[in-house]
Amino acid sequence: MNPARTARTAALLAWIALAVLRFPAPVGAAGQVPAPTTVVDSLNRSVSVPGKIGRIISLEPEITRIIVALGAGDRLVGIDYFLKHHDHLFPLVFPEGLKLPLVSNQAQDLSLEEAVRLHPDVVFASPSEFRMAESIERKLAVPVVALASMGRFAGLIGEIETLGRILGREERAAELVAFFQERLRALDRSASPDPPGERPSVYLAFWNSLVRTPVSYEPVDAAGGRNAASGVLPEYLGAAGATISIETLIAWDPEVILVQGNYPPEERRVSVGTVLRDPRLASLRAVRSGRVHYTFGFWYWWDPALVLVETVYLSGLLRPGAPAGPGLVATGDVIFKEFYGVEGAFSALCRILDCHEWTAR
């Protein structure tokens, strides 16, 4: 061993050690890793995520949309099958997202090898897939947060706030939540809600079927209606769909029928026209009075902007006494601009869904 070389190495190491001891990095300075954040997800699991999230994989379209609305779309490193191939909304609000690698198959199962290649800091998944979160966490050793609104406004707001905390975008999350809540309050101010007994009963024909209906749908309640299917299934099932018989629909005799219009017209197996022309439904109040309309409905759960537009739109349909607003498209464009910062995104969506033709009153 060369003594001179050993001495030089020892001196270098001593200098580095002294430098480290004399000039410790100040707390919070650039370059230091922030402390991990612990959140409770929709499965009631405490998940510790890194304090700084730079690379995100999201398997749940609803979460991906909120991430974009929070201004963190550039941190996405992979998107799910549905958004990549079938969503008509996502390309309008975040076209760059379509260039991202695909990380799941149609069943929303994560491609583990692709995930390893993309080395995410966090994976967001749906809580409705049995044990998916634990399974991914165990295999990838990456924190997995399972979130969903489960079709409830409180769930959606909680989801926005949790994602804001995880992504360090609390202020933007607070802005979105305040905007959302203020819009809902404005609906109540514009027309005081009717007592439950006087609200119009509303039947929702969802999921491309006349007889599949959500047992709770908060936009209808917030807009002044009463879901005819409320109570058909136990409360804990949330917005789950029940299948009823045509006869049950006739017995309920709803005043308004809302058909899910969140499909391009050529893909609609149930339309306003088929309901109005169905001889079995001719005696219904909704059919006789022509109160059969499209609404948006779930689209791989919700889009936070779209569900707000829907609630405002339904308020116009279900509260005939309310003052006329600026119209569906204009309202939609304002709300989408607030959420996604994109001009005319809702107008473009309306061209796809043909909602310019939807009856507003």
Binding site: H86, N105, W207, T243, I244, S245, E267, R269, S283
Partner: protein
């Protein structure tokens, strides 16, 4: 002894006609929309004997004739189809555990109908594709089982393989279906008679009616076929032609029912065995009686499915809940079953 058996057969024959009719009356009176029994009677009477007091059709007519009656007819025809198909196949294969589900016919028909629903759209009726793949399934089973088709284990194993194949192909269709078609497909696969309309029945009822009638007319041939290939030939039967006819007809009626209501299983197993327990193995009695009791069973299951809760219970769940324990008991006792 023989006299007692004849008397029992006569009683069971009368019941095979009366029971479906009686249940039809009950089913017409059951539903979410309350119609007083007297109004049901009056509405039906006015439809059968028009004229009356000139007040026109009652408000109940739409419910009875547009909603309950198509559903009731589909239950009767589909129940008869599945039971007669099961009875015929069991006789043909001389195998008590054979029915449309264990032979892969149900899954074959489901795959064909799914292909049609997803790739050809609603404008094209799913029945032809359902029939082609139902037939293909049973032919595959026969080809795999070969000469051992009358052996319980061989035919069941072949059926399991073919069922699994079509189940996998069905999953493949789901993978390639766009989300809009997938929603319709998943709903259809749950099995329900609730979507029956006169338009659907215009295709399905004649197909099932013709198929079941011909199978009933072939009942004595089934007796001969169940003796075995050589004995049947020695009695002058064209066994190849008759076997093909029975298989094709069984596939046709099952496919006709499955294409409209989805997969509803076990009817083809339970009913023929119950009938055999009561009247013995003579197919001249078993096949026609199975039609009556199959119709009654599916109608009863559907009436419970739509009357027991404010939401629909898929009728396939009810028939499976009854059918699976029955199948287990049958397997346990299979050593004592005789055709």
């Amino acid at each position: 002894m023989s006299g007692r058996r004849d008397k029992r057969t006569t009683v069971l024959s009368v019941l095979a006609v009366v029971l479906p009719l009686a249940l039809s009356l009950v089913a017409l009176n059951v539903g979410a929309y309350r119609i007083p029994p007297q109004a049901v009677f009056t509405t039906v009477a006015e439809a059968v004997f028009p004229g009356g007091d000139g007040s026109g059709p009652s408000p109940y007519a739409d419910i009875l004739f547009r909603v309950r009656l198509p559903r009731l007819l589909l239950a009767l025809f589909a129940g008869a189809a599945l039971a007669v198909s099961g009875a015929s196949l069991q006789a043909l294969f001389r195998n008590p555990l054979v029915f449309e589900f264990s032979l892969g016919i149900s899954n074959g028909a489901a795959f064909g109908a799914a292909l049609s629903l997803v790739f050809l759209g609603r404008g094209f009726p799913p029945q032809p594709a359902a029939f082609v793949f139902a037939l293909l399934a049973v032919l595959l089973v026969v080809a795999i089982a070969g000469r051992s088709a009358s052996q319980v284990v061989t035919i069941l194993l072949a059926g399991v393989i073919v069922s699994a194949l079509f189940q996998a192909l069905l999953s493949l269709v789901e993978v390639f279906a766009n989300p809009y078609a997938l929603q319709s497909l998943v709903f259809w696969l749950m099995g329900s008679l609730g979507q029956a309309t006169w338009k659907d029945l215009a295709v399905t009822l004649p197909v099932i009616g013709a198929g079941v009638t011909v199978l009933i007319l072939m009942r004595w041939r089934l007796n001969v076929l169940s003796l075995g290939e050589e004995e049947a030939r020695s009695l002058g039967l064209d066994t190849t032609r008759d076997k093909i006819a029975v298989i094709a007809l069984a596939a046709l009626v099952t496919a006709g029912a499955t294409a409209v209501m989805g997969v509803v299983s076990w009817v083809g197993l339970i009913v023929p065995h119950l009938v055999r327990m009561a009247v013995g193995a003579d197919n001249r009695k078993v096949v026609p009686l199975s039609a009556g009791y199959g119709a009654a069973l599916l109608l009863l299951a559907d009436t419970i499915a739509r009357g027991a809760a404010p939401f629909e219970i898929p009728v396939g769940i009810l028939t499976s809940v009854v059918g699976i324990p029955f199948f287990i008991v049958l397997l346990k006792k299979s050593g004592r079953i005789w055709l």
